[in-house]
Symmetry: C2
Subunit: 143 residues, 2 copies
């Protein structure tokens, strides 16, 4: 199936209208392994005259509809990425983030959903529901 038709289907499946902005942003986010900032995305779509407000709204719509997430960068901004999607077009949100200490790019990496979650030391009263991992090191690009 052509990529565009796939995106159309995916958006409808998520309860979202198909618009050219959304197709564009999906394409950009799909095209890279790293999380991107708002200005990264604007740069990559320069020719399309994408409005910055529309981009913020689109990203926030993807987040509230559970198809994307945002990670804080070391700077004053957020980085955005789509949730990984498995073969059945099912969105998976159980993954880790890898921050390269050299180039500062952030990757989404699948993580074994084993019972490997650390437990807080003798900390009463905290009810843990979910957990996130952030890994630091050197990425393949900088290795």
């Amino acid at each position: 199936m052509a990529r565009n038709k796939q995106y159309h289907q995916f958006l409808r499946q998520c309860g979202l209208k198909v618009t050219s902005t959304r197709l564009l942003v999906l394409d950009v986010l799909m095209s890279t392994r790293t999380a991107l900032s708002h200005s990264d995305i604007l740069d990559k779509t320069r020719g399309s005259r994408l409005d910055k407000v529309t981009l913020y709204r689109t990203l926030n719509t993807f987040i509230t509809h559970g198809i994307a997430h945002k990670v804080a960068s070391e700077d004053r901004n957020w980085l955005y990425a789509l949730h990984p999607i498995d073969r059945n077009n099912t969105v998976r949100d159980d993954h880790a983030h890898f921050i390269c200490d050299q180039c500062e790019r952030i990757y989404c990496l699948p993580v074994q959903t084993r019972n490997s979650m650390p437990a807080p030391e003798s900390e009463e009263g905290f009810v843990i529901r979910t957990h996130e991992y952030r890994l630091h090191g050197i990425c393949p690009q900088c290795h």
Copy 2:
């Protein structure tokens, strides 16, 4: 030893000059279990006419000197906390963050430094050095 003298010694030990701003900020951060935003700290030190730029600089100085760290909140700001310090006045930076999904406060919790780190699934080329955990759930205050 009086708390103030302890803070003096601690700052000198970290290679920092003792100033009233630093003593004040240390005291505020020491006095709570949760990470605080810049404006939280300004609120708590209202009587002391602490300048906002000075506060930003002090927090950043603590971070670069390895005695504090910042965590992104869900809002557009950073939350700041001192690194936990053990009995020997040694700074420990291996801890988890617990985000309460109800009140949105962020706690620093000690975490067992076991070999519980998840490994990325078949992801070649990533050199992992450190890891961070963020736990989500309900804190004792909201339980």
